[in-house]
Structures are given as structure tokens and as C-alpha cells.
């Protein structure tokens, strides 16, 4: 049962253009959403987050949008840089009967071409 889905395994973007990574979730218990970036042979690195009471959060070149009614969030990277090439994971956190949980999507591999 995939509660957090990233339907695009990979994305290729030209340097300087916008990268848009998408994520869908199914469980209404989630009230906090995060994006992590992962390079090979390293653990994931926190990038940006958003609370369910907001619909947008911005940090430099990174913006996360949340559409609660559609249970959809997206990460926008503008402008994209070659150093942004990595695997990006969407994660959702919240409380359910099993206690607190953080559920990750399968990841999207971003390639930024110079």
C-alpha cells in the first residue's frame, strides 16, 4: 500500500530551466510534508518542508506547493543547476493508530543538463 507516490522515476531538464517534481499521497492523517535530496553513497539531505496549514513555502531556488484537496504536492527548482542532479524523495509525516510515521515516496531521479 503506497501511501506516498512519486510517479515519475526520472526527469531530465536543461540548465537554467524549471524542474517540477510531483508527489501524491493518499492518507489524510499526514500533516507535514518534506522533500529530501540524495546523492549516491550518502544519506538523504533535508531540502524544504511545508505544513498542511500552508499551500506554499519558498526557500531560495526551491518552492514547495501543497494542494490538500487533491492530496498533491510539488517541488519547483528555478533555475535548475547541474549540481541539482540527484534523487529527490517526497515524504509525509503524521500520527495514526500506529503512532507517529514518516512515509517516503520511491524517489525521482533528476538530471540537469549543462
Amino acid at each position: 500500500d503506497q501511501q506516498v507516490k512519486q510517479n515519475s522515476p526520472s526527469l531530465s531538464v536543461q540548465e537554467g530551466r524549471i524542474s517540477i517534481l510531483n508527489c501524491d499521497y493518499t492518507n489524510s492523517m499526514f500533516d507535514y510534508f518534506l522533500w529530501y535530496k540524495k546523492y549516491p553513497a550518502e544519506g538523504p539531505t533535508f531540502l524544504i518542508s511545508i505544513s498542511s496549514i500552508k499551500d506554499k513555502n519558498e526557500d531560495g531556488r526551491f518552492t514547495v506547493f501543497l494542494n490538500k484537496s487533491a492530496k498533491h504536492l510539488s517541488l519547483h527548482i528555478v533555475p535548475s543547476q547541474p549540481g541539482d542532479s540527484a534523487v529527490y524523495f517526497c515524504a509525509a509525516s503524521g500520527q495514526d493508530t500506529g503512532g507517529f510515521k514518516t512515509i517516503f515516496g520511491a524517489g525521482t531521479r533528476l538530471f540537469v543538463k549543462a
Binding site: 507535514y32 524523495f89 524517489g107
Partner: protein
């Protein structure tokens, strides 16, 4: 400042054996979470501990257990290892629990033969 550290880096075990993985959180962080990551998937949530108490548990069998010590370090134990337990085991720490962003260690690569 040191980040999250995990030991060992790599480990090879035989089916049926037991394994203990260790994690030291960032200084001042009181919450530790454990994840299992297999190739091609995102990290799968196993446990979260906060102030030495289990706060959350994922869908893993009882062969998986963990604990957190007074210094906030943590151990993940897996009994009766199966081939399917081969994975990268990630530890993450955060200041509190719930909504804090987590800081991940480099992981322990476990291979079960």
C-alpha cells in the same frame, strides 16, 4: 559539528543470525528514527524513538526491535535474519519529534547470505 554517525558501515551476516546496528544522533537531538531502504525504493519507516520511548512503528515484523539510550544514541536489532533483510539501514535524528526535519546518517549496508 559531527553529523549523524552509524556503525558499522558494511556488514555481512548469514540467514538466521542476529544483527545490531548503532546510531549516534547529532548533539542535542532527542529523536532517532530508523529506516530500511532497498534498491529502487524510498526509505521505509521502521521506528521512531523520542526521549527513550517508542513513538512510532512501521509495518515490520517483531524480529525488528530498537531502543534509545540516555545519551540519545540508538540500536536497531534484527533477529532471525532473512535474505530479504538485505538493505541499507538508515538512521535519522531530529531535535524533537513529529514535524522536525530529519538529518540522516550514511547508513549501514547489511547483506544477508
Amino acid at each position: 559539528d559531527a553529523g549523524v554517525t552509524q556503525s558499522p558501515t558494511h556488514l555481512i551476516k548469514t540467514r538466521g543470525q542476529h544483527v545490531t546496528l548503532r546510531c549516534s544522533p547529532i548533539s542535542g537531538h532527542k529523536s532517532v528514527s530508523w529506516y530500511q531502504q532497498v534498491l529502487g525504493q524510498g526509505p521505509q519507516f521502521i521506528f521512531q524513538y523520542y526521549e527513550k520511548e517508542e513513538r512510532g512503528r512501521g509495518n515490520f515484523p517483531d524480529r525488528f526491535s530498537a531502543r534509545q539510550f540516555p545519551n540519545y544514541s540508538s540500536e536497531l536489532n534484527v533477529n532471525a535474519l532473512l535474505l530479504g533483510d538485505s538493505a541499507l539501514y538508515l538512521c535519522a535524528s531530529s531535535l524533537w519529534s513529529d514535524t522536525d526535519e530529519q538529518y540522516f546518517g550514511p547508513g549501514t549496508r547489511l547483506t544477508v547470505t
